[in-house]
Amino acid sequence: MQNDLPYLSLTALSRLLDERRVSPVDIVAAVLDRISRHNERLCSYITVCGDAALAEARRVEREIVRGRRRGPLHGLPIAHKDVSLTRGVRTTAHSRLLIEHIPDRDATHVRRLAEAGMILLGKTNTTEFACGTMELFGVARNPWDPSRYAGGSSGGSANALAAGLAVAATGSDTGGSIRVPASLCGVVGVKPTYGRVSRYGLIPLSWSMDHVGPMARTVADCALLLNAMAGYDPRDPTSARAPVPDFTDGLEGGLRGLVLGVPRQHFYEGLEAEVDAALRAALRHLEAEGARLEPVELPLSGELAGAGSILIMAEAYGWHAQRLRTRAMDYGPRTRRRIVAGACYTSGEYEEAVRIRAAWARQVARAMERVHAIVTPTLPGVAFPVETQLSGPPDTSWGTRHFNLSGHPALTVPCGFTAAGLPIGMQLAGRFFDEATLFRIGHAYEQSTSWHTRRPESLEAA
């Protein structure tokens, strides 16, 4: 069983802990063993907290033995993207500027998961400041084919989960940075409603587009993690006072009675053939399981790249301006160029981008009046070669920036594999603060298919 622990779900591991069939030390040691074997190749982690994690696991083990298990996450390890502040643990944002940065505080989501009893395993790879490349600590590689990119910016969290180098992780998502790598690596990632999870302690990219969310190998695991992460935080002025339900409550509700929107524009155009086939099959499957499909009109959906880029980079420049004046050449070229571009838009262009965003948000809101969720591909293609990422990647926010702009919650769940064995993801976007329905749909789909049970076996042979 020891060898299987890193691939068990949080739910299964939690049950084993409850039954005292394994200890937190067993779980942490098993995952650390896989990290020691595969991290050099996959570049999942920038910092591994091996000794500290084992020491914490021993402490938690004593608590559990005394009958003081705090809840379902107590005693389970977590990996945080290296843009989340972790007290006493280096937080680099994959940047030369922060290479020795040791925060004196935890981000709110880090603190909340620690209070739930989770054990910090390490800090996962990210593109530089969540918007550039991965040069300093290596490129996060895709476990399904290590010559290919894991995706960004939360690529380390995604590839660690897919390869059994983590059982739970967090990420941040400004234009798709949770959902894109999750889709490319065949795991589940959730961008909650804007305001659902505090961004306090997240190294920011764009104040109006940044989100923090959970990543895991199953939908139910993401629901468990969001239970601990969500909730009002006075230290984030955009944090919502909305009540936080138990996101695991409605998981078994099934699809009957739900109406799912299928966009007429953009999302089903220009897909790679195998992605197209997988999504069509997934839609048929959702329908067969009891959902009703309904076309929805989203005319602006194909023309949001300009507005999204202007908003993100103009806001990013605000945070980076002073550093760019003194240390511009310590930024990687792509990061530096993208962020400085943010200084060069006119106020008229920024205002126009805001108007486009508002019009888009109205289109989504109108669609959501008729459907419980919208179903799209997460990406039009699958993982591409690492060289492409370095030289000039495709527009990976093609299907995801939409819900950063509008603030609606969205998750990605595996919905197939290509003949070459690369994962394909399906995105579900829902009503504001209705992550529970997304979990219900995602769980029903996942549990009636077997995509989530596959493992990148070729990794073991290498």
């Binding site: 409603t193 804007y194 305001g195 109006s208 955009t238 944090s239 919502a240 006072r241 909305a242 009540p243 509700g253 009675g257 739900l258 005319p299 602006l300 023309e303 949001l304 790249a305 300009g306 507005a307 880029s309 202007i310 980079m313 301006a321 760019l324 004046r325 511009a328 050449m329 070229p333 530096r336 160029r337 993208r338 400085v340 571009a341 200084a343 060069c344 838009y345 262009e349 205002e351 126009e352 981008a353 805001v354 108007r355 486009i356 965003r357 508002a358 019009a359 109205r362 809101a365 959501m368 419980h372 603030g407 609606h408 009503r431 504001f432 603060f433 209705d434 529970a436 329905t437 219900r440």
Partner: protein, 71 residues
């Protein structure tokens, strides 16, 4: 959509940022691409009147209230 490179250089210099010519050329391409994106979106905005108020977090919107059970 052309970018005025002299104006771009002047803006970057005014911000006090020292960049290479390659940087400036790449930034010019980024600006051109995003401006072209704005231009493509413009005709799709329609004539629906809006109140220019920037970004409102969903928690403050009427439709951003927690969901009711209609499923």
């Amino acid at each position: 959509m052309d970018v005025d490179m002299d104006r771009l250089k002047a803006e970057v210099a005014a911000q006090g940022i020292a960049l290479t010519d390659d940087d400036l050329a790449a930034i010019g391409e980024i600006l051109a691409a995003s401006r072209a994106g704005l231009a493509r979106a413009r005709p799709l905005l329609g004539d629906e009147p809006d109140v220019p108020c920037g970004f409102i977090p969903p928690g403050l919107l009427p439709e951003g209230a927690p969901p009711h059970d209609d499923g």
